[in-house]
């Protein structure tokens, strides 16, 4: 070996019948698995026993009794009935959870619409517009969301007028009022015959869907394009309205009115809600815009050229050829964005919107001090939401994969 020549290795033949316990694949894998499970199990047991011991030694509260104990604090935004001093910590958990779900749901809708719009504008032929869209995406993606939330919070306040000079967003009808205390809007209170209007709406929607299907079939068969949008919209708007007026307008409005310092009546949302909604929507729209753009660009140009050459109008090309093919590329990042929206709504804590983290994991924990249980419940809540979303994502992915083949 020292003189640099290499020994040619002779082929070694493993004896066939000999069973080597240590070389056997199954024994090895079983061993590794048992070992891993053992270590993890030991670790979990170790942590739990430490925690139990520590809690006991330090005389800290444990158990889930607090859920039925009454909580002595109030919150400015709640979707269920709650009286401080009467309502329980369980109610607080539900209020927080609902608030998180509400803000996430609305942010997801706004950010998706905004994101698609910006994503399409990024590809606009107008140079200025596409550059502004680019600037939007780059600015909002590259500044930490936490800074943006706090910034919007301050921004929204500085820009909105005081109560006495409230903005009326319903053009004089005093149904939707915006000032720096929040957004106030009238709440409809359905009367006796209101169900008929709803039925009419349902009929109109179903009718529009059938009409659209038939138009599609006609196009597939004859290549003739019909405009389905206008007639459908007309039906959906006119029919319920007609029924509504025919039944004598069975809808009362609970209108916000200025009483003393504030507007009372109707429904109100606090400014922290608006700020969080704006910040989350804008931040996530920037991310969604990028995936939409990438999705559209991933569709071969030949596709849209071919579609144009068979005489489809540009809008149709987008809707019927490009977008459907771009969807498999858009949807997974879109849904992971949605999941991020839910998770990022927890930053509400920075501006005091009563989401689950701020209300339950901060205020309630501060008052009652059941650290392990409360942090655990909050995390379990988020896990439940995320796992539900990813469950549907997996179903979608499976379907798309099947279609591809």
């Amino acid at each position: 070996m020292t003189n640099g020549t290499k020994e040619i290795p002779t082929a070694r033949v493993r004896p066939k019948e000999e069973f080597n316990f240590f070389q056997d694949q199954r024994v090895r894998s079983a061993f590794y698995q048992i070992l891993t499970a053992g270590i993890v199990g030991w670790l979990v047991w170790y942590l739990i026993s430490n925690t139990a011991h520590n809690l006991e030694v330090r005389g800290m509260n444990t158990g889930f009794n607090f859920i039925t104990a009454s909580a002595g604090f109030d919150t400015d935004f709640k979707l269920i009935d709650y009286q401080p001093g009467v309502g329980t910590y369980g109610d607080i958990f539900i209020i927080g959870a609902l608030n998180t779900l509400l803000i996430s749901f609305l942010s997801i809708i706004v950010s998706t619409i905004l994101g698609f719009t910006i994503g399409v504008l990024r590809l606009s032929s107008n140079w200025l517009v596409s550059k502004v869209a680019l600037a939007y995406v780059e600015i909002f993606r590259n500044v930490p969301l936490l800074i943006q939330i706090v910034f919007w919070y301050i921004g929204v306040f500085s820009l909105l007028p005081v109560v006495k000079k409230s903005l009326d967003l319903s053009f004089g009808a005093e149904r939707v009022i915006l000032n720096n205390r929040g957004l106030y809007f009238a709440t409809p209170v359905p009367g006796d015959l209101f169900w008929m209007t709803l039925v009419a709406l349902a009929v109109a929607v179903i009718g529009a869907i059938i009409y659209r299907r038939r138009a599609r079939k006609l196009q597939d068969a004859s290549g003739k394009q019909t405009n389905t949008l206008l007639p459908s919209l007309a039906a959906i708007i006119v029919l319920p309205l007609a029924v509504y007026f025919a039944t004598g307008m069975p809808l009362e409005w609970d209108i916000p009115t200025l009483q003393g310092f504030n507007y009372a009546g109707g429904t109100s949302v606090p400014p922290s809600f608006l700020a969080l909604l704006v910040a989350l929507s804008i931040y996530h729209a920037a991310h969604i815009a990028e995936s939409v753009r990438a999705g559209i660009l991933s569709v071969n140009r030949g596709q849209s050229e071919a579609a144009m050459s068979i005489g489809l109008k540009p809008g149709r090309v987008m809707a019927m050829v490009v977008i459907p093919q771009a969807m498999p590329a858009i949807v997974p990042p879109l849904i992971s964005n949605w999941m991020n929206t839910v998770k990022n709504s927890s930053l509400a804590i920075a501006i005091g919107y009563s989401d689950i983290v701020s209300l339950f994991m901060q205020t309630a924990l501060n008052q009652a001090g059941y650290a392990v249980e409360m942090v655990g419940m909050t995390m379990a809540f988020y896990m439940f939401i995320s796992l539900t979303i990813s469950f549907f994502l997996n179903i979608y992915n499976k379907r798309v994969q099947l279609v591809e083949r």
Partner: protein, 346 residues
């Protein structure tokens, strides 16, 4: 062969893991602190007047001085401290689990906290009370005029609870507008986002100093809560409890006896008052009970001054102060009609 190596490696790792898990024998807090060489004192995210940071990165404020007093008592060096800034969620846990040696951060002493969280509060260093601030031009002169008003308040504190209680008691139907951050709360209030701000009065006075026109705002006379702001230690170490408690009393006692940072050397050398001599360790053996050397109280006063001096510097009209008067408040000495009172040091 490779497999055996792996196996040995895994076994070794497991062994290391197991040995790393051995527990440290319990010692007294004072022994731990002395062995470490510095005190771990917990403050929070900066709060003007009590604990805030200057542009050099140094902490200053009333609560900071309390920490420095304890450090000076133990080490004779007020800088032998590691300041820990802990979020309000984790503050009591961090104290209870031994991460912090003491807590000095405008925590309100309440029965449930003391009995349920594994901590002990010490004598209050600041008696605060929650009040309201409104714009002068609103014409409001008493808190009972606030019916239906929206009130800006900081979230997750006793402030929020007190406001709710007050509103229920007087049927005022107040709407709390909650904030995580003082600044955003104040901006909101200044921009008309709420009719009043509710907070501890000291903090209201301090914050209004930062407004563009402070004279446009007034603090209403009502005090709707008792907020004794007190340092705290972990339950179960009575020597440590005594040490911190008497360090706080030493600050007040020094003021009662007229000992100041400037004259403490002179007093120790020339005073004839046996109370002064006992406290400064010239006579008697007060230091033995708390396990320190006899200079401990001298070191405190030499390092941070007496309570009155600290108050003037950070809360009162001093250079770094909030500008809140001390006369006729609960924070005056008992001899001036306040609540600051030290049991005799003898």
């Amino acid at each position: 062969m490779k497999f055996h190596c792996n196996l040995a490696l895994v076994a070794a790792l497991a062994a290391i893991g197991a040995s790393g898990a051995t527990t440290v024998a319990a010692e007294t807090t004072l022994e731990i602190v002395k062995a470490r060489g510095h005190l771990r004192c917990q403050v929070g995210s900066p709060s003007p007047g009590f604990y805030n940071m200057d542009s050099k990165g140094d902490w200053y404020g009333l609560d900071v001085s309390v920490c420095q007093a304890v450090a000076a008592a133990i080490f004779g060096d007020k800088n032998a401290i590691e300041f820990q800034s802990v979020s309000s969620q984790a503050r009591f846990t961090a104290l209870a689990n031994g991460d912090s040696d003491m807590l000095s951060r405008t925590a309100t002493m309440t029965m449930s906290r003391e009995t349920q969280l594994g901590i002990d509060f010490l004598p209050p260093v600041f008696y605060d009370g929650q009040g309201f601030m409104v714009r002068k031009d609103s014409g409001i002169t008493t808190a009972l005029d606030l019916k239906g008003a929206s009130v800006c308040v900081k979230t997750g504190s006793t402030t929020e609870l007190n406001l709710t209680d007050f509103s229920r008691e007087h049927d005022l139907n107040l709407t709390p507008v909650t904030f995580e951050d003082y600044n955003v709360r104040d901006d909101t209030y200044q921009n008309g986002g709420c009719d009043a701000v509710s907070n501890d009065k000291s903090s209201l006075a301090g914050n209004s100093a930062s407004f563009a026109t402070p004279s446009d705002h007034i603090i209403l006379p009502e005090t709707i809560s008792k907020e004794p702001l007190a340092p705290a230690v972990r339950q179960g170490d009575s020597q440590w409890h005594d040490l911190v408690q008497w360090s706080v009393y030493a600050l007040i006692n020094a003021e009662e006896l007229g000992i100041t940072q400037a004259n403490v050397d002179d007093m120790r050398a020339n005073s004839k008052d046996p109370n002064v001599l006992r406290m400064l360790g010239v006579e008697g053996n007060l230091h033995e009970g708390i396990g320190l050397n006899k200079d401990w109280a001298y070191n405190i006063i030499k390092a941070v001054g007496n309570y009155g001096e600290i108050y003037e510097k950070y809360i009162g009209g001093g250079e770094q102060g909030l500008g809140i008067d001390r006369d006729d408040t609960l924070n005056a000495l008992w001899s001036n009609g306040g609540l600051m009172y030290s049991p005799p040091m003898r």
